[in-house]
């Protein structure tokens, strides 16, 4: 597994115009994405430093989910560029992008409800050989020991928290470099959220994570860097400590208050 290098200061995303070229695994520049007539992303840029957890924060409808979908190629951008590990991925087919080493854990988890948990994982493992499948499975079971109990159960019968374990594990069944996780806390009870958070904490040492989260408590606990987005463009970004200190910012863009 990759050592978790603390990113250099140059890699620190410092706002809407973050400078690519330093040790950033993923750089996204000037994304304009439409879904039908909906203009969702309106010039969004961000950089994800290697080996850290970057959190996308923002209200409902701010464009967080679309950002992840644009990176995976599910909603290709009209303008802008996506660079991953030095390679330009803009406009490539989703399955191509995935093969470059980007795992995706969608909102509502996107598990295959009619397949068993084992089949879900087997599918995620792609064409890898048996040994590598076992190695990855062992890693996942290490992370979520509970999963052993329901490996042969249909994924649709699982509780929300269990489904989340499966969804995250799926992203770990290949040698992915980056994991995009969309609102892992959504629809889960507080105690389950805590469990998901613990798992993500453990994951930090293995893989780079771009996390979308509305739950500020969760985001601030596990995030190293943040981007605050609204109306499809970024408001600000930086080390997580800065956001925690700035209660005015959180109230205005995440909580309930007057602008």
């Amino acid at each position: 597994m990759r050592p978790s290098n603390p990113p250099t200061s140059a890699a620190t995303p410092s706002g809407p115009d973050s400078s690519p070229g330093s040790d950033n695994l993923l750089v996204v520049e000037g994304l304009q994405t439409y879904i039908g007539q909906f203009h969702i992303l309106q010039g969004l840029s961000l950089a994800v430093p290697r080996g850290a957890v970057t959190v996308l924060l923002g209200r409902n409808g701010a464009g967080k989910t679309t950002t992840l979908k644009t990176i995976t190629g599910l909603t290709p951008p009209k303008e802008g560029r996506v660079t991953f590990d030095g390679q330009d991925l803009t406009g490539q087919a989703t399955y191509h992008i995935a093969r470059h080493g980007i795992g995706y854990v969608p909102e509502d988890r996107g598990i295959f409800r009619e397949l068993t948990v084992e089949e879900n994982l087997l599918l995620a493992a792609r064409a890898e050989n048996r040994a590598s499948y076992r190695r990855h499975l062992a890693n996942c079971l290490d992370l979520f020991p509970d999963m052993q109990r329901f490996l042969r159960q249909k994924a649709g019968t699982l509780s929300g928290g269990q489904q989340q374990m499966v969804a995250i594990s799926r992203g770990l069944m290949t040698d992915n470099k980056l994991l995009l996780i969309d609102e892992p806390s959504k629809g889960l009870a507080p105690i389950v959220i805590k469990a998901v958070m613990d798992a993500l904490q453990k994951l930090k040492s293995q893989i780079t994570i771009l996390l979308v989260e509305q739950n500020f408590t969760m985001a601030s606990t596990i995030g190293d860097y943040f981007y605050l987005i609204d109306d499809g463009h970024n408001i600000t970004g930086g080390p997580m400590e800065r956001l925690i200190a700035d209660t005015e910012l959180t109230r205005q863009y995440l909580g309930v208050g007057f602008a």
Binding site: Y95, E114, L123, R126, Q153
Partner: protein, 354 residues
């Protein structure tokens, strides 16, 4: 991470497929007791075997439809035309293969190499392959040229494939240059022997071959869907197309494969039909298509084993119901469709995929 899990609840007796199978058997026994006053036991067995053969042909047709319509949600009215194409290609190839070079009228024809003067069994086997290939090829062409643009637009699929019916039916006349719309297999030395199952009961070898083919296809496709990686991708792709792509699979290519496979199965159905009825006719595809739709809908959309049970149910109707009410036997299938759609639109195993 401790989260309460639901207990495993896979009590085998709750499986609706098994229950229905038992129900069908029970129904048949009751039917036999009732009919016993009217027909003798050997007649009953003969009807039953006829029903099995009919079910197998129906199943072959419906299995392709179940993959294309039930699983992938593509409405393909040209399925019937592919069925006919398969049957006609089979007879055409069979006739070529059984012709000896000496008998051939046109020795310079580019197809002269096919006139090998084979015996009926090897000729059947080879011609079967030709039929399958023709079906798969047609399916592939249709998918690439038309269906690919129309995923998720059912009305356009119907409109378009209805037009394809015209094209395929008409071009078949051109390709096989048929003046009379039917061929007669009986004139060819087809293995038409019987064997005795008991006193007064004899079974045609052809029937056995058809039923076995049906079983083999059922097991094969069931295995493909449920036990292979390809099946995993397809089942996943049907449920959440985008997620499978995000896992790194080119779903389009898999769907293309399914469409070609489904079309090949339709052609296989056509072959089986021409074998059982000793020849083909232009209208055979459309006629069977509607029944196959009924089978798939009764079985439940997207349920492959449902299609098998549906085929068994409908296949049994013709000999048994037909014996007593010959005028309404085919209407009965339609009434069944309407009833099923109104009472249980999801079909017997609807909502349960594959």
């Amino acid at each position: 991470m401790k989260v309460a899990s639901t207990p495993r609840q896979t009590a085998i007796l709750r499986d609706p497929r098994l229950l229905t199978l038992l129900g069908v058997l029970a129904g048949l026994i009751l039917l036999w007791i009732y009919l016993n006053t009217a027909i003798t036991f050997p007649t009953f067995v003969r009807f039953f075997i006829n029903g099995l053969v009919e079910s197998s042909v129906l199943f072959l047709m419906a299995s392709g439809l179940s993959l294309i319509f039930g699983l992938m949600d593509v409405v393909n009215f040209a399925h019937g035309a592919i069925f006919t194409w398969g049957g006609f290609a089979f007879i055409w190839a069979f006739n070529l293969f059984t012709t000896t070079a000496a008998e051939a009228k046109d020795k310079t024809s580019p197809l002269a190499w096919m006139q090998m003067g084979l015996g009926p069994l090897p000729a059947t086997a080879l011609a079967l392959l030709v039929g399958l290939a023709v079906g798969a090829l047609l399916g592939a062409i249709i998918e690439i040229l038309a269906i690919r643009r129309l995923y998720g637009r059912p009305v356009f699929q119907i409109l378009l494939t209805l037009g394809l019916v015209l094209v395929l039916d008409e071009s078949m006349r051109l390709v096989f240059s048929l003046n009379s719309p039917s061929y007669d297999l009986q004139s060819s030395p087809w293995p038409s022997g019987n064997f005795r199952l008991g006193p007064d009961i004899s079974v045609n070898w052809k029937s056995v071959a058809i039923v076995v083919t049906g079983l083999v296809v059922f097991i094969g496709v069931f295995w493909l869907l449920n036990r292979s990686k390809v099946g995993l991708v397809i089942r996943g792709g049907v449920e959440d197309n985008q997620m499978v792509q995000a896992l790194g699979y080119n779903v389009k290519r898999y769907f293309f494969g399914v469409f070609a496979l489904g079309s090949a199965l339709a052609a296989l159905g056509g072959v089986a039909f021409t074998i059982t009825s000793n020849g083909g006719s232009q209208g055979m595809g459309q006629l069977n298509l509607l029944t196959a739709f009924v089978v798939v809908v009764i079985g439940g959309l997207g349920s492959f084993s449902g299609a098998a049970v549906g085929a068994l149910l409908v296949g049994m109707i013709t000999p048994f119901i037909g014996y007593h009410f010959s005028t309404i036997a085919d209407s009965f299938v339609m009434i069944l469709l309407v009833l099923v759609l109104l009472v249980r639109p999801q079909g017997l195993f609807g909502g349960k995929k594959y």
